[in-house]
Point group: C3
Chain length 326, copies 3
Amino acid sequence: MQWSMKVDMALPVPVRVILRGVGQVFFCGNAVTGLIFLIALYVGGVTAGLAATVGVVTSTITAYLLGFSDDDIDAGLYGFNGTLVGPCLFLFLENTPQLWIYVVLASILSSVVLAALIRILTPYKIPASTSPFVLTCWMFMVAVYSFDSFSRGPVLPSPEIPAAIASADLPAAAWLSSMTAETTEMWYVALTKGVAEVMFADNVLVGILFLIGIAITSWRGAFMALCGTFVGVLVPILLGANQNLIEMGLYAFNPVLTMMAIGWVFLKPSTGTAFLALIAGILTVICQAGLANFLAPIGLPTLTFPFVLVMWMFLFAAGISKHWSN
Amino acid sequence: MQWSMKVDMALPVPVRVILRGVGQVFFCGNAVTGLIFLIALYVGGVTAGLAATVGVVTSTITAYLLGFSDDDIDAGLYGFNGTLVGPCLFLFLENTPQLWIYVVLASILSSVVLAALIRILTPYKIPASTSPFVLTCWMFMVAVYSFDSFSRGPVLPSPEIPAAIASADLPAAAWLSSMTAETTEMWYVALTKGVAEVMFADNVLVGILFLIGIAITSWRGAFMALCGTFVGVLVPILLGANQNLIEMGLYAFNPVLTMMAIGWVFLKPSTGTAFLALIAGILTVICQAGLANFLAPIGLPTLTFPFVLVMWMFLFAAGISKHWSN
Amino acid sequence: MQWSMKVDMALPVPVRVILRGVGQVFFCGNAVTGLIFLIALYVGGVTAGLAATVGVVTSTITAYLLGFSDDDIDAGLYGFNGTLVGPCLFLFLENTPQLWIYVVLASILSSVVLAALIRILTPYKIPASTSPFVLTCWMFMVAVYSFDSFSRGPVLPSPEIPAAIASADLPAAAWLSSMTAETTEMWYVALTKGVAEVMFADNVLVGILFLIGIAITSWRGAFMALCGTFVGVLVPILLGANQNLIEMGLYAFNPVLTMMAIGWVFLKPSTGTAFLALIAGILTVICQAGLANFLAPIGLPTLTFPFVLVMWMFLFAAGISKHWSN
């Protein structure tokens, strides 16, 4: 919206860059949106909020000190991976004072990895997106087993749950039956948490705040996010996936990002690309399940890598399509 | 052969494109060859034949709808990955009605992945080959563990067999002893099945039909396929690999493709490239064993990825060679 | 040093190329340095020395026969991966006569993989470094499980040790306490072995010879190697890693290579790049721990891949930095 862009431009540069960095988690280079996201993160939990703040500041300063593109830094592109690194490490590792050193190191590395991927992907006009966050966090999370100074925190139920308990307790029918107070509640919770889980928040309110933040930048963006969370609830229901995971939105946060990327940000908006986004969203659910089972033996979560993989495939393919070019 | 090209050109476009798609599994952009392959697939099993048909049609139509290169579509390049996706999923997953949805989705994805890889690899003049089929099938096969609607079928003995039972019951001597009726039979079965297993057929006749089909397009191609299956039987015997796997041709289908690719399709045919193809074929056997053991813990088969990896290495390397350029 | 370059140029071409190949393990295209490295290898063990010799000769001849760049061959670039392949396979697999065939095949493949990576990475001005050695050895080492002709040798204690026994017996305090004869000895052993383990030698003298060899080519190189081994001992101590591994130098050989690559070879030498090298060295320790735990279930060692990954990230990133360009 017009007014939010004016506020964004009126802010002092450092504040604007940092807030845009938070906003870019959902592809929104807008400080107002970023502020709402940051507030939402603190609503979800003070530690998560602080960790995100440390992350976004560290990764942005790193990019500045290492001399990466000023335009990219100004757009907040060196901020969103750090924003995600912080809460991620605090969710999956035990909360100790040393962990802050880990968050700082990981945020530094995320900016180096992002610059490396920008170098590789820019000739193809393909974004690195959240892949630096994923690769960095995976590395730090699996390294922890070797170091006494760190240990694993209580791990959330996640799509990585062993196949044995992955069968749904509740049949698809329960979700798809005629609308009762209970099914409405289930859908409402799953859909909003699906958006919130992009930044690791298991919280309905956070999801709503994220949607509002996105809508301030773009209605189409918010619509695609809604479609994505809907796909991420409906498709796993139809395929018979674990109902706890569905209700926590853990199948939905990847399709949310995929559908926003394909249907709004990186291809020309049209009915055609909206349909393409839908296909990509459905495939992201399957990719999520596949990658989760693939990583389960090492105890790593998928994070947003299913989104990254499917988005890359579709954007690379769009590059040689007569209909959609990016 | 001349006549087969004339028949190929005389066919109506849709039929020609689909049949060429089947033919391209063995690098043959020739509808007559494709028809023989398709007949062979139905000989191997009606379900496999139907699944291949659904796959090739779906992936080709997808490429057309997404606006990928008409020349590539016409050559059948958007068909062979779909051809392989179908029978593969029906071999490794349980045969249920829902599986057809999975085959359609996977065939669509295989065309998107192919386009993405074409975008990346074309500047290097390197083919994506069967890698989209492999990546897509791996993803769907490992995703299945999370979904109630699907389950694993009876899995074939494969190179993924645990090391404990991987020791050969029969010493290499038995294969290499003076020619008796029994050893002749063993070699005959292993060599033909080695070709048939490229499309998952554990069937001598299918292998012979495949060889005839290839010979119709190119004698050198058929010769390289024969050399490849020979390497894929002899080398594992000498290295002391599991004899059941050897006799089922499960060490041979990858070298078959490698030797065809290096010795016939992608480099200028000469004595030098024939020798290079031989080295590549031998290394493919080792790569097959390595990848199989690497994937065993997750329960995934290698499919044709050993061929893809070795071929990529040799073709990239050929790109900077003074003697062989591609 | 001047005199070593004069000796290098005065040698007959084949001898010079082979010795430079050995020298390139530490980025030194200098035959005198290479000769000292080779002597050190034989000091470490005659089999290791012989295997390295067979490896470097095979991989260099392969590059010549396959027609790869004469300049690269002359600089010894097609030799160092073979140099590493030989001792690596003899360390991790059982010493049998057949193993020599394996060493020859792996050295051939290492040159093909190097050429392939040169083709891919040269446009970015990024070196393939030891990645062909790592990829080739991983493939051969994991293939072995399928073949009766080979078996695993007694495996060294390595960072792949299960988490259960990975906890340090000795607290960091013991290493960092006031300097006694014992702590001095511990540091001396760990620091020199850290350099020696780059070529799999668990030997103080070999490490010293390597450092002398590097110093003959470049003082800055030797200084960076020393800093690298220091980082590779201090950082894991502070993080609380397994003390046996630290004392054997198994956390140090990767940072040694990383700091030499970033702080001396591939970026313009300055205070800035020295600092960058330090950050890269610290991250290499974490990457080492992460990759080791990642590979542990398959029983593979990290080899020098942590160095390769971190170096690639930093060099790709440097390519778009205003301050450091490569």
